[in-house]
């Protein structure tokens, strides 16, 4: 188990979420465990289909019941096990104690309601403020996220805002109730880099000021390096490596983490040979007893295909762990844990 020094805000234990495909249930995330501390940003990084977005939706209990279900595990936010709460209580927690922002803000904004009006509504719903107080609060929030001339733009509609400004509005709305935890799912992926950098700086500043925990989901290792305190790398529905951000980039230990770094062309270095990862991610409908990366891994040994390695300490570190028989040989204790 994780043992961060301070009390975590969020504790996820053995979370498994399944999806029904052709009448069969298949796990999209498999027995996931991690914590997020106060004033800490945990980046969850991985490629398409690794389960990173499903993780966030499971925590928010937003998995569409027609297709999926959380099959096992606990999600503990401030002593509440979210998975056992009635939906009515959950609705109060969502947007209040925890909030989420997405890649495309336009799909989460109401196109026929003014920007200010939408934020004010959220504040009134959760905090029961009067119309007047809610308006003042919404304006304050717009100023917080540095919408220029916020008072003048309060009555604008979403289509009058640029992509970056809309994402600022989403952040304002998410932070309206000063949540303990913010889940950000690829919030800057659709933005130009000069706008992305502004949003990353804003999120880092607000996290610090509110002493909030943040889960930042991305596929971009460059973004991870600039926003994360800790990193969890996901592959095939599992965390295959976790570490503080410096250790992860200094000593990528799982062959997949290493391969991801070597396949990324870098703007800060002269041209180096790119090493692509051969093959493709196995579909979630395929079960394997061993490591799901084994078929693409240059270091794979017979045992990699026979049994799934546990998350084991890298060189005795308490914070850096990897799931690899070859690179992070587990102790007997770790194998049977």
């Amino acid at each position: 188990m994780n043992s961060p020094s301070s009390d975590p805000i969020l504790r996820v234990e053995n979370l498994t979420t399944e999806f029904r495909i052709k009448g069969q249930w298949h796990p999209a995330i498999r027995s996931l465990s991690f914590t997020v501390g106060r004033n800490e940003t945990l980046a969850i990084v991985g490629e398409s289909g690794c389960g990173k977005s499903i993780t966030a939706l499971s925590i928010m209990r937003l998995i569409p019941p027609a297709q999926g279900r959380v099959a096992a595990g606990r999600v503990v936010l401030a002593d509440n096990d979210l998975l056992t709460l009635p939906e009515a209580r959950m609705e109060k927690i969502r947007g209040d104690r925890m909030a989420m922002i997405f890649q495309e803000p336009m799909t989460s904004l109401n196109p026929v309601m003014t920007i200010g009006g939408q934020i004010a509504e959220a504040v009134r719903y959760h905090k029961g403020l009067s119309k007047r107080d809610a308006r003042a609060r919404a304006l304050e929030l717009l100023e917080w996220v540095r919408i220029p001339a916020a008072a003048r733009r309060y009555d604008d509609y979403p289509h009058q805002f640029s992509g970056g400004m809309r994402q600022r509005v989403m952040i304002a709305m998410a932070l309206a109730c000063e949540p303990d935890l913010l889940l950000a799912d690829e919030p800057t992926t659709a933005l130009d880099v000069t706008i992305q950098v502004q949003i990353l700086a804003l999120l880092a500043e607000l996290k610090e000021r509110r002493s909030m925990g943040m889960i930042f989901i991305t596929h971009n290792l460059g973004v991870v390096a600039s926003i994360a305190d800790r990193v969890a790398v996901m592959y095939g529905g599992r965390i295959i490596e976790e570490a503080d951000v410096e250790s992860l980039f200094d000593r990528p230990t799982h062959p997949y983490t290493e391969a991801l770094l070597r396949s990324m062309p870098r703007v800060d270095q002269p041209r180096a040979e790119l090493v692509p990862i051969p093959g493709q991610v196995p579909p979630i409908t395929t079960e394997t007893p061993g490591c799901r990366y084994a078929d693409r891994c240059p270091l794979a040994q017979p045992r990699c295909r026979e049994a799934m390695p546990p998350l084991a300490s890298v060189d005795g570190s308490t914070t850096h762990r990897a799931r690899c028989w070859v690179r992070a040989e587990p102790t007997d204790e770790e194998v049977f844990a």
Partner: protein
């Protein structure tokens, strides 16, 4: 070295109706007086953010959008004067690949039929040898012969981009305009496709105009790069020198904002505040001046002239 493509003062303007019932008309200068040269066998990068005109520039090179002014010379001949027949013949020589191959593949045609079409259209293969040629084209991009009988939806994004490349290569072009060819792909797949394109370039001596928003990909794939901002080229030169020591404050900002996988080199906001202006109403003078930390009074008044700072590098900025 000889130039395969010379672009001189190319512009593309659109008349845009807007306002109540479309009563207002504005001229949008999507591409505004750009010039560059692509040498035989070179990869020339065009980099910039949304609305900078890089995609319109790419399409203008093939006259997929008709340029408003300027010249595009392919092997010394101005293609602006070509009639329909000559343009069609030229499109054998110049091919384009797009970001989303799914949108450019017919969902109801098998991959074999998709690849056969251009070969038959341009009379490059008879019915008899068609199958063989298609197999060779698939093999060249690393797909099995079996792929021929399948439909686009049966492939992953990376495989579809391989099919897009196979189709572009079917006619043995000399120059490929690649518009964000790897932007929709995961990094590991992106690397596979980049390597494939490098291999093909080497084997066939292809030249590329490579359009991307990703500076890392451009530095990896290209020899020279032009940086565009709101329709104009603001800086040009060899990739290493442009990205190691950018001259234009916009290139500097773009470089500083590009994420790198190193937590000790956190990307910085510099002093780049504000949004990218709308190309419909670009700021006066230098389009970048409202966001520029080094703006001077003259920047508001006059667009800076292009200045060659060395044999290979040039910049449009009043600082130089």
């Amino acid at each position: 070295m000889s130039a395969i493509l010379e672009v001189r003062n190319l512009s593309k303007r659109f008349e845009v109706r807007h306002g109540f019932m479309g009563t207002k008309r504005t001229t949008l200068r999507a591409v505004d007086d750009i010039s560059f040269t692509v040498e035989q066998g070179e990869s020339f990068g065009i980099v910039g953010e949304s609305g900078c005109g890089k995609s319109t520039a790419g399409r203008s090179l093939l006259r997929l959008v008709e340029p408003s002014a300027g010249e595009v010379r392919y092997r010394g001949e101005n293609i602006m004067s070509f009639d329909k027949g000559r343009m069609q013949a030229l499109r054998r020589q110049i091919q384009i690949i797009f970001q989303d191959p799914y949108a450019s593949l017919n969902p109801r045609m098998t991959i074999g039929a998709t690849l056969a079409e251009p070969m038959l259209l341009h009379g490059l293969a008879g019915r008899a040898e068609l199958r063989e040629k298609i197999e060779a084209a698939l093999d060249e991009v690393g797909l099995p012969p079996l792929a021929m009988q399948k439909f686009p939806h049966e492939f992953s994004g990376g495989q579809r981009q391989r099919i897009g490349i196979a189709r572009a290569l079917a006619l043995h072009p000399q120059l490929i305009v690649a518009d964000e060819p790897v932007s929709a792909l995961d990094v590991s797949i992106q690397a596979q496709v980049l390597l494939l394109m490098e291999k093909l370039q080497e084997r066939r001596g292809l030249s590329f105009v490579f359009i991307s928003h990703d500076l890392g990909v451009v530095r990896h794939f290209c020899d020279n790069v032009a940086v565009m901002y709101l329709g104009r080229i603001v800086e040009k030169g060899p990739v290493d020198s442009v990205f190691e020591a950018p001259l234009h404050p916009y290139t500097q900002a773009l470089r500083a904002a590009s994420p790198v996988p190193d937590p000790r080199k956190k990307i910085t906001v510099a002093k780049l505040e504000g949004d990218i202006a709308s190309p419909l109403s670009p700021p006066s003078g230098c389009h970048f001046h409202p966001r520029c930390p080094k703006a001077m009074p003259v920047c508001r008044e006059r667009y800076p002239e292009w200045r060659a700072v060395s044999m290979q590098r040039g910049v449009a900025c009043h600082l130089y």
